[in-house]
């Protein structure tokens, strides 16, 4: 059994402190209705060095293990932070051997201008709706309907299918044949674009490795999104506890009614369970093989998708009519959660993957 330590907890509390000071309140609320992207905030976080946490020291980062990003994402979730933190912290760290062929990875860390991950593998379910990308003779073709922050990116990291498995290729978004169309976003914290590549020459590619690198990126994306969802659920819970302790009906706080109290207690237990699952998954992820890491990440993400949605739905319910409006934070929590729920798989999709992996295991 791994040690029950909270890897990276100190980074999490630093992020928490900063966002409490410099982000919460009006600024957060304004950004949540600004299309999911704010160049100023991205630059500010880069300036703070947040994007380099897991980047090796020889590249100017802090060299922390990827698992230490977990508490950071929990904190980002708790403050409903807007922007490409996933892309800007995870991709430069995982792809650091390729910084020479893709210098924009370094720029993302320093300036906050995002790298976009063009990945048709954000779901297994009805993949035809999402799109596909293929690589032949160093040339990329295909389209992906929803790519986070592609419209703002200085580099596209494209996951493409080859005969030797999926690989990551790098493309400058200004290359002829690249078409990026910004699309509306229903996620208050993310900007989306459609990306189409028409016989575009890749500027470079990570070596074919049977899909190992792609699997690793997706696993860590799932783990970090699970952490972020846990943070969002915590936020929705906190707001709800405050609200039902103050809001009075029938001459008393509604939190004194058992019908309300028991829903809130379930939210508390579920949010606690999710937080502990994230902590345990991060601790176990550090030494896990690619296959074990995948199962860990599917598991954490599956549970996060289910629990965060349930907690936010209860939060909206307990806020009554106010919960249904954009004037309450819990509505933003819910919208954010619904967007992240299916990003790299919801519970239904991932449970099938987990089940298949376990039943195939000898």
């Amino acid at each position: 059994m791994a040690e029950p330590i909270d890897v990276g907890a100190e980074y999490g509390s630093a992020v928490d402190d900063y966002l409490t000071r410099a982000y919460d309140g009006d600024r957060c609320r304004a950004l949540l209705s600004a299309g999911g992207w704010d160049a100023g905030l991205a630059a500010e976080l880069a300036e703070l060095g947040w994007h380099g946490l897991a980047v090796p020291e020889r590249h100017g980062g802090l060299g922390a293990p990827l698992s230490s990003l977990g508490p950071v994402f929990t904190a980002l979730g708790r403050h409903l932070a807007v922007g490409p933190m996933l892309e800007n912290t995870l991709l430069p760290a995982v792809l650091h051997p390729h910084w020479t062929i893709a210098p924009a990875l370094a720029a993302a860390v320093e300036t906050g201008v995002p790298v976009a991950l063009v990945d048709p593998g954000i779901t297994d379910d009805r993949t035809a709706d999402v799109g596909a990308m293929t690589l032949h003779d160093q040339r990329l073709s295909g389209a992906v309907e929803a790519v986070r922050f592609a419209g703002q990116a200085s580099l596209l990291a494209v996951v493409a299918a080859t005969e030797a498995g999926e690989v990551v290729c790098f493309v400058d978004p200004t290359t002829p044949g690249v078409r990026i169309d910004s699309v509306d976003s229903a996620d208050p914290a993310t900007a989306f674009a459609r990306v189409a590549l028409d016989d575009v020459r890749a500027d470079g590619a990570a070596p074919a490795d049977g899909g190992e690198l792609v699997a690793r990126i997706r696993s860590w994306a799932r783990l970090l999104i699970a952490c972020e969802l846990s943070g969002v659920a915590d936020h929705a819970l906190d707001r709800t506890v405050t609200y039902i302790g103050q809001r009075e009906q029938f001459g008393q706080p509604i939190g004194s009614f058992q019908a309300v109290k028991h829903i809130a207690a379930d939210m508390y237990a579920q949010a606690t369970g999710l937080r502990n699952l994230c902590t345990a998954s991060l601790a176990d992820a550090t030494d896990a093989s690619t296959a074990d890491l995948a199962v860990l990440a599917w598991t954490a993400k599956a549970h996060a998708a289910e629990v965060a949605v349930r907690v936010c739905e209860d939060a909206v319910q307990l806020h009554g009519g106010m919960g249904f409006t954009t004037e309450s934070d819990v509505s933003a929590c819910y919208l954010r959660t619904l967007a992240l729920r299916s990003w790299y798989g919801d519970a239904t999709e991932l449970q099938l993957r987990i089940g298949a992996a376990l039943l195939d295991r000898v």
Binding site: I244, A265, L277, A280, L350, Q351
Partner: protein
């Protein structure tokens, strides 16, 4: 419980696990009979075997007749028992609830007279707490004990008392004062089950088991020397022990669920061969996620147990999540039985119908016993979240 002197070197958990595994590999592990009387006899003998080999009372102090090791050692052994397919000792009520109370609150006579036989399985204990009208509201219990010279005269009725008809002793909560707050008028008696005036009636559970009983006390004479703690101090003793054993019970149940899920997986794999089975795949996925949630949660429980924090309202979060998980896991597995669930001797997808139907039914009790889920939610809301009392 008494802390062992710091000079004694404690066996490492790994060494302990290796020793336990080796012993269990060589042990004659009994088949558990279905018939309730022979099951009781077999499991009692098994406790004796375990006791003689030094595997009972692992975390009890040596003074109390235990092994003087930690709770973690105890949990390692619980896990090894489950993995070896071996039953737990029959006297869990004695070992987990009553014994620690006697050790902590008992007189010298009570400790010396009762604890050795409780450990060895010579005496099996039952717990006379709940009553027909005192379930979740346990403190409203009405079984009366009236002082009469050197004795108490006890009259009343208990229910949900596991193994009462076969037990030797009963830990009994009785009302000794009706004029005070209900919690302040309760005493804790240690009652010899052979005393005249006690009758037991087993109740059949929906699992088919008949271990629960009703117990009737009709002017039963209990010596004053059998009072645990002082008069009217019973509530504090009962709640302290119930609370402090909850963490251990959660961890034990986790291991049992884990082992059961692994076993179901083995059957499913063997029966599946190379064909795909979406229903089973989804069920296994969902059960695995649930088990991992419990695993993660119980790491915190273990940390609390090691730090010896004592009972906390966090135990209620554990209980609620444990209940949730075990009900999900066994519901998912049992659903794979399909229509063959109704045929106990049949196999579906390699799963023996009666075995998994039993587990599923048993899991439904989890949200009722040991403080119902509704009680846990109230504790969480009021003590952890600070919501106003209704």
């Amino acid at each position: 419980m008494t802390v062992q002197p710091p000079s004694a070197p404690t066996e490492s958990l790994d060494a302990f696990r290796t020793r336990a595994r080796a012993w269990l590999a060589a042990a004659d592990i009994p088949e558990v009979p279905r018939d309730i009387d022979s099951r009781f006899a077999t499991l009692r003998q098994w406790q004796k075997t375990l006791f003689e080999a030094g595997w009972v009372g692992i975390a009890w102090s040596k003074q109390a007749g235990g092994q003087g090791l930690s709770h973690l050692h105890h949990l390692v052994f619980v896990g090894e028992l489950a993995r070896a397919g071996a039953p737990q000792p029959i006297g869990l009520i004695g070992l987990e609830v009553v014994g620690p109370s006697i050790d902590r609150y008992g007189t010298d006579w009570q400790r010396h007279e009762l604890l050795p036989r409780l450990l060895s399985g010579d005496d099996i204990w039952c717990q006379g707490f709940s009553e027909p009208n005192a379930g979740s509201d346990l403190a409203s219990l009405r079984t009366r004990a009236v002082a009469d010279g050197d004795e108490f005269l006890v009259s009343g009725q208990k229910i949900w008392t596991s193994w009462a008809h076969l037990s030797h002793w009963c830990a009994l909560l009785v009302r000794t004062d009706t004029s005070v707050r209900k919690q302040a008028g309760i005493s804790y008696l240690l009652v010899d089950m052979t005393s005249p005036g006690i009758t037991t009636r087993p109740i059949t559970q929906m699992t088919g088991d008949r271990e629960f009983c009703e117990v009737f006390f009709d002017d039963v004479r209990v010596p004053r020397a059998n009072l645990l703690g002082g008069v009217n101090e019973g509530w504090a003793i009962a709640t302290h022990t119930l609370g402090s054993e909850r963490a251990g019970a959660t961890l034990r149940r986790r291991v049992e669920c884990e082992v059961a899920l692994d076993e179901a997986l083995d059957h499913l794999r063997a029966a599946r061969g190379s064909s795909s089975d979406d229903r089973a795949t989804a069920a296994v996925g969902r059960a695995h996620v649930a088990m991992r949630v419990l695993d993660a949660q119980t790491r915190q429980t273990t940390a609390r147990l090691v730090a010896d924090t004592g009972p906390t309202p966090m135990d209620s979060v554990d209980k609620l999540l444990l209940t949730d998980v075990e009900q999900i896991v066994f519901a998912e597995i049992a659903a794979l039985l399909g229509p063959l669930r109704a045929v106990p001797g049949a196999r579906a997808r390699g799963l023996l119908s009666q075995r998994w139907a039993y587990e599923h039914l048993y899991s439904r009790a989890a949200s009722i016993y040991g403080g119902s889920s509704q009680i846990q939610r109230t504790i969480i809301a009021e003590r952890l979240m600070g919501l106003p009392r209704g």
